[in-house]
């Protein structure tokens, strides 16, 4: 059976990950894929077939309007499968789209395949304790786990433009404030040193950030440090409801390793931990661990790292 796949994300870089998922799927199942964009995103998209929906400026920033634009285009083109990047807005877009088109929807999938007229995939469940096998009948909508697929490079292919005209909107955006990025781009970071409740005082975070700086990495944290204690802004919170990361090295310092945190670090290449509690669950989730006092171990690590340089 030949399937027609659409790949979309409101973030062009993520759209290019979805594109590679669509590429793999359409090759395996037999079919084609089109990468969908909005307004001026055409040149930033990958793929040989591109469709750009052109509307007002508000379209780019509104998941409500984007879903409506996609829905109208999909009703004409009738793709069997619409894949959306699983960002917060992406999930909203996919959900709305599913209702508008009368299709089912599944989110945060990876390991996608098509068989017997259904989309098959895998997703995390129970805060990452389990992996679920998912099956949803085609035609459907699905969101693709960010970071699960490689990013295709933007292509020079020209996009088909489609005017979407005036779209009704119920809510409107009053203001958007970018979150301070600085050195915090955890999603793309190759090395992350992360702090948990083992760190006793806010001032002691310096131990963690100094080591991160020495290693050229980013600083993350478990939820209590950002949500409860406000020692670090939300953007640093790694976990089920925070950022999911996939660095080459994730070093968890004074983090116990609760499920909700580990859910965000599973895809790290190497996980290491420093914790003074031998029974802490983080050691079950790590490749290398040190049972010890972080206040002694971290300075010793700094010394060791520095001496390796020379």
């Amino acid at each position: 059976m030949s399937i027609k796949v659409w790949a979309f994300s409101e973030v062009p870089e993520v759209a290019n990950e979805v594109a590679s998922a669509a590429d793999a799927l359409s090759k395996a199942a037999g079919g084609t894929y089109t990468v969908i964009g909005v307004n001026g995103s055409g040149p930033r998209l990958a793929g040989e077939a591109k469709l750009v929906l052109k509307g007002s400026d508000a379209l780019s920033g509104s998941p409500e309007l984007t879903a409506e634009a996609l829905s109208r285009a999909a009703k004409e083109a009738n793709p069997d499968l619409i894949l959306v990047g699983s960002t917060r807005n992406g999930k909203e877009i996919a959900a709305r789209l599913a209702v508008k088109l009368g299709r089912s929807c599944a989110s945060d999938l990876f390991g996608l395949a098509v068989s017997d007229g259904a989309l098959r995939g895998k997703r995390n469940a129970f805060a990452g304790k389990l992996i679920g096998e998912v099956s949803t009948p085609l035609p459907c909508v699905a969101t693709v786990k960010v970071g699960a697929y490689p990013t295709l490079a933007p292509s020079a292919a020209a996009a088909t433009m489609k005017e979407v005209g005036d779209l009704p909107s119920k809510s409107h955006l009053v203001e958007r404030r970018e979150k301070p990025r600085g050195t915090v781009d955890l999603k793309g970071a190759k090395l992350i040193v992360s702090a948990g409740r083992g760190v006793k005082k806010k001032e002691d975070l310096a131990l963690v950030s100094e080591l991160a700086a020495e290693l050229g990495g980013a600083v993350g944290c478990s939820r209590p440090l950002s949500s409860d204690m406000g020692w670090l802004p939300e953007e640093h919170h790694i976990g089920l409801t925070g950022v999911s990361v996939h660095p080459d090295l994730y070093l968890a310092v004074g983090i116990s390793g609760q499920l909700q945190h580990v859910a965000g670090i599973k895809d790290s290449k190497i996980i290491a931990a420093v914790n003074n509690d031998k029974s802490a669950p983080i050691f079950e989730a790590s490749d290398y661990g040190v049972v010890g006092d972080l206040y002694a171990v971290l300075p010793a690590m700094m010394k060791e790292v520095r001496s390796r340089r020379h």
Partner: protein, 406 residues
Amino acid sequence: MRTIKSLPKSARTKAPVLAIYSAEHRRLMGIFHPSRHEEYEELLSSLGAFMEKEILPLSPKIDAGEAKIEGPRKALFEQGMCQIPFPQEYGGLGLPFTVYSNAVELLGTADASIALSVEIHNAVAEGLNRFASEEQKRKYLPSLLTGKALASFTLTEPASGSDAGTMATTAVRKGGEYSINGSKMFITNAGDAELYMVFAKTPVGPSCFLVRAGTPGLSFGGDLKKMGMKGSRTSEVVFSDCRVPEENLVGEEGKGADYAKEVLHGARIIVAALNVGIAQIAYDKSLAYARSRRAFGKPISEFQLTREKIADMKTGISAGRLLYFYASSVKESGVDFSSEASQAKVFATEMSLKVCDAAIQIYGGYGYTSDELHRHWRDARLLTIGEGTSEVLRLLIARREMARSQ
């Protein structure tokens, strides 16, 4: 896990992750209150979760003098801790005494000094509920049960403890007032309380009075330095021509000693529960430590002499818990429960000292040098003394037995 080398575990004694309200508690509630146990379990589970989150983490700081108990105690009052066994018409929840004693055990685990403060406060509420006039109950009980006003049970004196009949504080009638003179010692909540239940001698014998904070002639000594129960304020209370109106007499003149005795019987069950709570947390920490501390190439929990301690600690806690549940049950049935209450208190307080001592032994050098661990023994140590010494209570138990075998 492949370990490369073993070394003493860090002295930081981290309490293991556990639910304070456990399957064992549920089992007991199911036995003692088969028809409504699910409801009681739901309440205790919720209270336990609150204590675990909001009180337990503060406990080491409270012992170290770095945190005060006012805030968590107030939050606990707001949860309804003190309302549990009292009648609904005064703002209580009208629940069985067993639910209250179980709740105090949980609080003993979370922080023993808050448990002590709350227990003394509730003893006054019990005294009011049993012996005060309708008017006095309406006036004082509701604010005690919501915790808006803190209470203090003011009986013991510098020279009179177990022999309350020899108290030297007097209350002399002067017109429409009583003038109270004398001093009380080792009074919990003194200086913080809004309401004092004071026992003073009138010509016909000890009587019971209600004295409000701020009454002229009422003053306090400094906070006494105790070996444990550090969060709870304990000091001397001095009465110097302290005038209270005659409507502040509770019940009848001369009956004060009887009232005190009655209140203390119930309080003894509560103290037993409190100490079971202390023993429980000391035990939990010991078990976790024994599993992780290695010696001679294996965890010390593998050694028989450590296992002997674990077995004895566990058995003692189970027995102590059963005894206070049983005593609570006898109290609920309405008959004289003074012997059962005394048995529970004597057993549980002495047991808790043994358990806390064994915990120190298991922790070894770290036990001796870690405040967070030895504080359990220091907290528990008060209660073979306070609220009826083990000696006096043994005599009470034996007297009852002598009377029975006639």
